[in-house]
Symmetry: C2
């Protein structure tokens, strides 16, 4: 991992260059998009670092938590895909790995023979809670922002996601 610290803000610099180039109308949006990308990268590293010794990734953690909160402890793969907004092939791949790890089982749908459900195992449920406890403590409880900015961020991104067709 590159824990390098730059001597300046690369995004502010890019924004100035955008303006110099005559792209002033697009400069704020460029900065915002780039900021999101970079922040995601930083957070993802921080999270995966916490999950590494549990042999989980954020993608698989999210999938597990989805099952934990799904009462029956089982969901059709298609449901997982639309809930997490990822490609069907990604779901297949994640469930494959979780199944190999013994955290999830594939079971047939009651009536629809096309559909398969991913069902949480006891080990899967237990590991999901361990991981949650750790992420809550080391990342979510202090994401790196004052509480009022966390809320502002949530509101702004909620609007963006809504307009982007997320929900």
């Amino acid at each position: 991992m590159p824990p390098n610290t730059l001597p300046f803000d690369p995004i502010a610099q890019a924004r100035r260059r955008w303006e110099d180039e005559g792209w002033g109308d697009a400069a704020p949006g460029m900065a915002a998009v780039t900021s999101i990308m970079r922040t995601q990268q930083l957070l993802m590293r921080r999270i995966d670092e916490q999950l590494r010794d549990l042999e989980l990734t954020f993608a698989r953690y999210e999938l597990l938590m989805l099952l934990v909160f799904s009462q029956r402890g089982a969901l059709p793969l298609s449901g997982i895909g639309s809930r997490l907004q990822v490609h069907p092939a990604s779901v297949t791949s994640a469930v494959d790995r979780l199944e190999r790890q013994g955290l999830v089982r594939r079971i047939p749908h009651e009536t629809d023979r096309r559909t398969k459900l991913a069902e949480l195992t006891a080990a899967g449920r237990s590991l999901a809670l361990t991981a949650s406890e750790r992420l809550n403590r080391t990342v979510f409880a202090d994401p790196g922002l004052p509480p009022d900015e966390v809320e502002t961020l949530n509101e702004i991104l909620r609007g963006l996601r809504h307009r982007a067709g997320d929900f």
Copy 2:
């Protein structure tokens, strides 16, 4: 791509479940982190869709733009890595592809024989500008937020990145 639109905000739902679980102190941060992840996913798709027929990805586009703005049109691979905050292996891989596409050339460093520079070709510079024009028009000029929220977002994320050691 899953252009699926959910009938509710999945992050708001997750937040409520976090609170029900007794994790209220971590709930806002969890929502913020998850929002960043999901927003990045949406934006990345939107961008890659625009770049696809130029045979570029956002990662390679960023690398090209770095070179465009580097006066000499050339930078050491290590410099690219620390500027974009990506692993050296990722730089090698991106430059490999750009070189195959004829957009970049690897040239030796004047004095340090360990170092290689990635140098923009004429085709690389031209394609970078075409891609910029398109992204400015289709994404950056309207990222999906009102202008004041774009600025607020930029400020909040600037702080987060700073405290995360980005610069």
